[in-house]
Symmetry: C2
Subunit: 296 residues, 2 copies
């Protein structure tokens, strides 16, 4: 019988993940700042509670899936840790800095609770399909205990060892690579268009040949169609991730010139009023610098 799970954070990613867990028979106690988001889950049998710590059962498992470090810190308090108590496990699934998860680990350890970092790759559609890729790090026994949970969330789990923040470094490095791919396609497309070649011709060829992988085909389609308003990954969250990567890169002394350019592209996109668009709207920067205009 699947273990009961406490679930905090029913946003674009959290809600479909919670639905999948419920569908696989995990009893769910859920909390969200806006309780309205829980309606469909409650209709399927989840219990909605009024405070983060009420999702916890003694010695149980709690998942947090929130937008940023501040949101995670605001729910992953001593109260939550106390409610979980000895033997409890906190699966920290949000994209946060390794430092934040290390800090939570210290806090939760004082209450006998283990923290497993488990950030995921994939957009909301992948979350709904249970096709995310999950990266874990943390102590071994709790990782094994939560494996059946993570197997529902994703199509594969990759482990990065005992240090709780490691999976977060991997997640930030991966998001950097995704975003760098968008910038590279945008610059190549601007070059093509300034030479009379439609970006669709260039990107379709490249994504049918050398770059035939989901990241490139997905972002190429958005760039070709200037499809930036259909938000899968909100632009301000992408900036947040780049700034977290920047902070970790700085504190551990890894110069990353491509990352710097991405930070500035997102800052510029926000300056241009694009906070409501998808992260792929980054591509408009290279186009505009070349005197071109793609989309809104």
């Amino acid at each position: 019988m699947p273990e009961p799970i406490g679930f905090i954070g029913l946003g674009h990613m959290g809600l479909p993940i919670a639905h999948n867990l419920l569908a696989k028979g995990f009893p769910l106690r859920v909390y969200n700042r806006s309780p309205d988001k829980a309606k469909t889950l409650v209709a399927e049998g989840a219990t909605l509670v009024k405070s983060p710590e009420e999702v916890a059962t003694s010695g149980g498992i709690v998942i947090t899936m929130l937008a940023d470090d501040a949101a995670v810190e605001s729910v992953a308090t001593d109260q939550l840790a106390r409610a979980l108590g000895p033997g409890g496990v906190h699966i920290s699934m949000s994209t946060v800095s390794p430092e934040t998860n290390a800090k939570l680990d210290e806090r939760f350890a004082r209450h006998g609770v283990a923290v497993v970092a488990a950030p995921v790759f994939g957009r909301p559609e992948a979350a709904a399909a249970g096709k995310l890729w999950v990266c874990t790090s943390g102590p071994q026994a709790p990782k094994q205990r939560v494996k059946p949970v993570l197997d529902v969330v994703g199509q594969g789990v990759f482990d990065f060892g005992a240090k709780v923040g490691s999976a977060n470094v991997v997640k930030l490095a991966g998001n950097f690579m995704l975003t760098a791919a968008t910038e590279a396609m945008a610059e190549a497309s601007a070059l093509a268009e300034k030479n009379g070649i439609p970006r669709g011709s260039l990107l379709k060829m490249l994504t049918q040949t050398l770059f035939n992988c989901p990241v490139y085909t997905g972002y190429a389609a958005r760039i070709i169609d200037a499809d930036f308003e259909n938000v899968g990954f909100a632009l301000p969250l992408a900036l947040k991730d780049m700034l977290l990567a920047r902070q970790t890169a700085t504190s551990t002394h890894a110069p990353m010139p491509y990352l710097d350019i991405l930070c500035d592209r997102y800052i510029s996109a926000i300056a241009k009023g694009r906070s409501g668009l998808d992260a792929s709207a980054l591509a408009q920067g290279a186009a505009e610098d070349a005197g071109l205009k793609w989309g809104v």
Copy 2:
């Protein structure tokens, strides 16, 4: 019966392409600055000639596959154009600037010869297997005539219209994207290693999931193993391509900040004595900037 073909340039790419054409029954007349390179072709029935223009038959097809713009200009002379004469076709397969092919087009047009740009994507192994990707541009009728030739060279032909230089812009844009992918992997790997995560763990996960395409798997393997001495694409040729892209981007007004970083990475690699390595040795730059050392 396949048409006779003149073939100039028997380097890493030209030699396997010439072998494939010969194997498919195209009679070949070949020229190379160092005639030794032609030995295996002559053994299989090719005719070795002593000057570039001698490869041509009146109204026939000539392929040039050389290292750079200067090498192409030195063989694609008025003499060669005259030897080809009215109805002839020059397939310009080298990675050169669009401006160079436009200039050749003007020169050859004066002799009634059409120029078809047909740069290719792929390493020597792909050339040997006939698995290159071919990009064409130029006038329609000659492109149709040479299609059976290009079908032997590659597994697919993508056309970019009538303007002779367009395929070269696409080739430069594609090589930029390949190289940008290497830099992104290198920066992400440096970040991971500075945080105690082996670059192999990071890159294997990413190339098994979001980045499971030939470019990433191939370059990731080289970065993981620090395999830079086994040269598939010589580092100075990669710099040459980035500088051609830079020149075209400048003349057509497309700012490309990622490209600028790549130019400097290659210049630095040469400064560090890496001219004899594979282009993927670019990755060492991000590692060294972070105080790490990968490979030689």
